[in-house]
């Protein structure tokens, strides 16, 4: 059994009277791609929001690399090694693609705050090379100097992925990376996810597209009504009747 | 005891003005989502409605002054007096309250023109741009007024019959020395009536219900197939009238000058922030509260302990409120928070 990198322990969160997460327990193994599936409103995004410090849980703990993450500011959690791709692309629409990727790279190298007002951006060759490399991997190198806001939706998502990858996070959270993408783009994204899978980065991926889930995941957990109802390898999940009932509505995959 | 009572009274009329202005501001803010820095200018325009109305009534003609007999002297006599005699004089005496009738259509028109001509194009722009464009508009309006009416404050007399003070103390069984100008009492009453009618309009008419629904959730109301645009225009017009009327009746309390709008603008934003962005009740409550607070801060006993407190109390309260409770006293969560 390899190392547990993220442990969500008994997390509860409710909005008003609505319980979004109840007794959520989840262990993520280092180096694995862990998919979370579940019906709409099961609490998948809430879970990610708790992990990155966007939401404070009512109770429970989130331990990352042996450190409690609850109560930490979002930037501290990122600096600890968790990056997230959001469901709607969160990029810097007014900046160039290169700058969009350089900024997270700076965060990785310089920390949460550095007052380097007299250094010249054009002299940051290392950071620039790093950013260009990632943009090339992701296939956006041709638009290095275009404004990010002018990209197509699919490209924006890929750019956001690049922004997370450049940080070489220990844990990458992907919130529906292929939602709203055309088939062709989805396949490109799967290829990309497969490619970065080889890098040994731990990933949590939330996805509705079962094709994506079963082609990239090492491990799948099923979330329903704010709690994990099943967890296992893709084959185990595929054969699990409880899952089929709760989530797949009895239909066979 | 008497002193405290007097301070509360003193704060109430100012509070009434704050409440009315903030009410208009919140209406615009809540329904249209526009940060209107020209709102103070509407108050100022209202005050100048009464000035212009007074000037209209007193358009005069040179006539021979009969009281001077040993040489030909001339005096200015308003046409109204020439035509209607004592009735004319009475009408002029009641210029300020009568100018309400004049101000309502004028302010409505100004509001409609502002909304149609400028504000409308800024619904989708950033708050910073809204602030900038309305700030520019406020400068234009105040400079126009300055070029027409000059830079000096213009005293506006209240009607003779209410120019004295009400013996409030004697009426309520307190000390005889507690007196309060009639006009301020009238202003207080007036602001109460306006506030009540705005709330009645919003709560009892279907039109008002749509407006309130719009404050809660603009998009949904738009989806219901209601002509939101036209209602926005009407709301802006209503806000302009409410704010303008606050200015009309305030003229005898504070002689109008061209920059009174800017002075009241900051105050009214502070009131809105303290009351809670987008909360009409909050705006009214905070208006009166801050008026009274300011009145207490200007007591000599308080000033002796905290020198200068009367000058900054309102802003200080706003800063504290914004820091510890950003949604204000009665505001809903998530309004205008980015």
């Amino acid at each position: 059994m390899s190392n547990i990198i993220l442990e969500i322990d008994n997390v509860q969160k409710s909005f008003g009277g609505l319980k979004a997460l109840s007794d959520l327990n989840l262990k993520i193994e280092e180096g694995k791609v862990h998919a979370i599936i579940g019906p709409n409103g099961a609490g998948k995004s809430t879970m990610l929001n708790v992990c990155i410090g966007q939401l404070a849980p009512d109770s429970g703990t989130v331990t990352f690399n042996g450190e409690n993450m609850i109560g930490k500011a979002p930037h501290e959690i990122n600096q600890a090694g968790i990056s997230r791709v959001f469901q709607t692309p969160e990029i810097f629409p007014d900046l160039s693609l290169l700058q969009n990727v350089m900024i997270p790279a700076f965060a990785k190298h310089e920390g949460a705050f550095k007052m380097n007002i007299f250094r010249s951006l054009s002299n940051e060759h290392n950071i620039q090379d790093e950013a260009c490399q990632i943009l090339e991997d992701i296939g956006l190198i041709g638009q290095l100097h275009s404004i990010a806001g002018s990209l197509s939706r699919g490209d924006k998502r890929r750019l956001e992925l690049a922004m997370c990858l450049v940080q070489h996070p220990k844990l990458l959270l992907l919130d529906e990376p292929t939602a709203g993408m055309a088939r062709h783009d989805t396949n490109k994204t799967i290829d990309l996810l497969m490619k970065i899978k080889e890098g040994g980065m731990t990933k949590i991926i939330i996805e509705h597209d079962m094709h994506v889930v079963f082609s990239v995941a090492d491990h799948i957990s099923v979330l329903a009504q704010g709690t994990i109802i099943a967890s296992g390898t893709p084959d185990e999940i595929r054969g699990n009747p409880k899952v089929q009932e709760a989530y797949l509505g009895g239909a066979h995959l | 005891m008497d002193a405290i009572f007097l301070q509360i009274l003193n704060g109430l009329d100012k509070g009434g003005a704050y409440a009315l202005i903030a009410l208009g501001l919140t209406l615009v803010f809540g329904t249209l989502g526009v940060v209107n820095f020209a709102h103070g200018a509407l108050f100022m325009l209202g005050a100048f409605c009464s000035v212009s109305f007074y000037k209209l009534l007193t358009i005069s003609k040179q006539v021979k002054d009969e009281s001077i007999t040993f040489f030909d002297a001339f005096k200015e006599q308003p046409y109204l007096e020439i035509w209607f005699g004592d009735y004319g004089t009475a009408i002029i005496d009641y210029a300020v309250p009568l100018s309400i009738l004049f101000a309502i259509p004028v302010m409505l028109l100004i509001g409609l023109i502002m909304e149609r001509g400028l504000i409308r194009h800024f619904y989708k722009r950033t708050h910073a741009e809204q602030i900038l464009v309305t700030f520019g508009l406020a400068i234009v309006l105040q400079e126009l007024i300055k070029s027409f009416f000059g830079a000096n404050p213009i005293p506006m007399p209240p009607p003779d019959i209410v120019s004295g003070s009400a013996p409030i103390g004697a009426l309520l069984g307190l000390s005889e020395s507690v007196v309060y100008p009639w006009w301020r009492l009238i202003y207080l009453l007036f602001s109460g009536i306006i506030i009540a009618s705005v709330f009645a309009f919003l709560n009892m008419t279907t039109y008002g219900m749509v407006v309130r629904a719009g404050m809660m959730d603009r998009e949904t109301v738009g989806l219901l197939g209601i002509d939101v645009e036209r209602r926005f225009t009407v709301v802006f017009g209503l806000a302009a009238v409410v704010t303008g009327l606050a200015g009309v009746m305030y003229a005898p309390i504070l002689p109008p000058d061209y920059h009174m709008g800017m002075d009241f603008l900051v105050l009214s934003f502070v009131v809105v922030v303290v009351g809670g962005m987008g909360s009409l009740g909050g705006a009214v409550a905070a208006g009166f509260l801050l008026g009274i607070l300011q009145s207490f801060a200007s007591m000599n006993e308080i000033k002796a302990i905290f020198p200068g407190i009367d000058q900054i109390i309102i802003y200080l309260v706003a800063v504290v409120i914004l820091l510890v409770r950003p949604r204000g006293l009665l505001g809903r969560e998530g309004v205008m928070e980015d």
């Binding site: 810097f92 700058q99 620039q128 490399q133 490619k195 | 900038l132």
Partner: protein, 384 residues
């Protein structure tokens, strides 16, 4: 959006310095080359360049910067009164003290963003203004404004010389602050201020500020603590304002509270917007244009208008004079306000946006294929 290289920056700096220092020459034909106006250009230039670091880069709209300008002015006049008429310590103190105030106010106001931030700065500006008129009269001399007096101690000056008969005048190590020498001192400081602003714009720090403007949420989830960045920008721009205030007092040793009113902050916002928010040179263009036309317009009266319209047929001139006279002389602010509205409505990017649009139009016609292959960096081809 290519990042400018250092060579490029140095080139721009050289041109810029040449343009600024030769202003007395090339403004001559425009009738704007007299020292008073030139000093104003330079001083407001510093103010606007600094304001742009906050508003242009981070998008935080502050109405409180006139307060820092006022702090700078008062500090400088006190330095003239107590220490010496040399402006060097005066502007150092101005910058430091206004920086300190900016740190304090920024620390509080930057806890909120958007319109709340603007209102908080408004509230502080108003408090400063009101206090300067009331309780702080011993420091600010209230409505009269803080002035020099013959009896001021001027400790450092007294070490070297006896008090003279009349009021002493300010200098920079012997260089008089009035007339052209005063302008050159201000101009050199402006060039230095512009240089720092250029460095900030092209530094990683500057790009991070832009990123905060673009998407602050993303910044936080990208591992940045955004508030220290904002606070730094706020303090830097506050120090620029203080520097401008100090120089204002240096060229005319008088400090009044009206400089601190929040509407005075509005003027610097207008200059910045008119030229182009977030561009390096835009704010300076804005300052130049506004101060130049203010100078012309506010001096005009009806007679002047008649002369200006002399080229028109009489009947047209007779219509134009009453039409335009509210906009000149005392009515200059009306022009300013109208300009403000027009710019925000039609050209939110300011003059620089206009120039860029023009450039694009032009370049499209001349060079259709705009595709340039990007040079590959020296990185290995393989992925991980």
């Amino acid at each position: 959006m290519k990042a400018p290289t250092i060579k490029n920056d140095i080139f721009v700096m050289l041109i810029f310095s040449a343009v600024i220092l030769s202003m007395p020459v090339w403004l001559e034909p425009l009738g704007a080359s007299y020292p008073d106006l030139l000093q104003k250009f330079a001083i407001f230039g510093i103010f606007a360049v600094g304001y742009n670091i906050l508003f242009g880069l981070t998008g935080y709209l502050s109405f409180g910067h006139a307060a820092f300008l006022g702090v700078g002015s008062y500090t400088a006049v006190w330095s003239f009164k107590l220490l010496t008429m040399n402006i060097f310590p005066a502007i150092i103190f101005s910058v430091l003290l206004s920086g300190l105030f900016a740190l304090l106010i920024g620390f509080i106001t930057l806890r909120r963003s958007g319109i709340y931030f603007s209102i908080l700065t408004l509230a502080f500006a108003q408090m400063f203004y009101n206090l300067a008129y009331s309780v702080l009269t011993p420091i600010t001399n209230g409505e009269t404004g803080l002035q020099l007096a013959r009896t001021d101690p001027r400790v450092i000056d007294r070490l070297f010389s006896e008090a003279g008969e009349g009021l002493p005048s300010t200098d920079f190590f012997g260089l008089a602050m009035s007339g052209y020498s005063g302008f050159y001192v201000c101009a050199v400081i402006l060039i230095f201020a512009f240089f720092i602003s250029q460095r900030i714009f092209h530094s990683p720090f500057g790009v991070k500020l832009r990123a905060i403007k673009s998407n602050q949420t993303r910044m936080k989830y990208t591992g940045y603590s955004t508030r220290p960045y904002l606070l730094t920008a706020f303090v830097i721009s506050g120090m620029y304002a203080g520097l401008a205030g100090g120089l204002m007092a240096a060229t005319d040793p008088l400090a009044g509270a009206e400089r601190m009113q929040w509407t005075a902050s509005g003027e610097v916002v207008l200059m910045t917007i008119l030229g182009g928010v977030g561009t390096l040179i835009g704010p300076l263009l804005g300052v130049g244009i506004i101060k130049y036309f203010e100078n012309i317009f506010s001096a005009l009266n009806e007679q002047g208008l008649h002369q200006a319209y002399a080229f028109m047929p009489d009947w047209l001139a007779n219509i134009m004079v009453p039409m335009t006279s509210p906009f000149v002389g005392e009515g200059w602010h009306l022009t300013l306000g109208s300009l403000f509205v027009l710019i925000v409505v039609f050209l939110p990017g300011g003059i620089m946006e206009g120039i860029n649009m023009f450039k694009k139009l032009f370049s499209k016609k001349t060079s259709e294929p705009d595709f340039k292959p990007i040079k590959k960096k020296t990185t290995p081809e393989t992925v991980k």
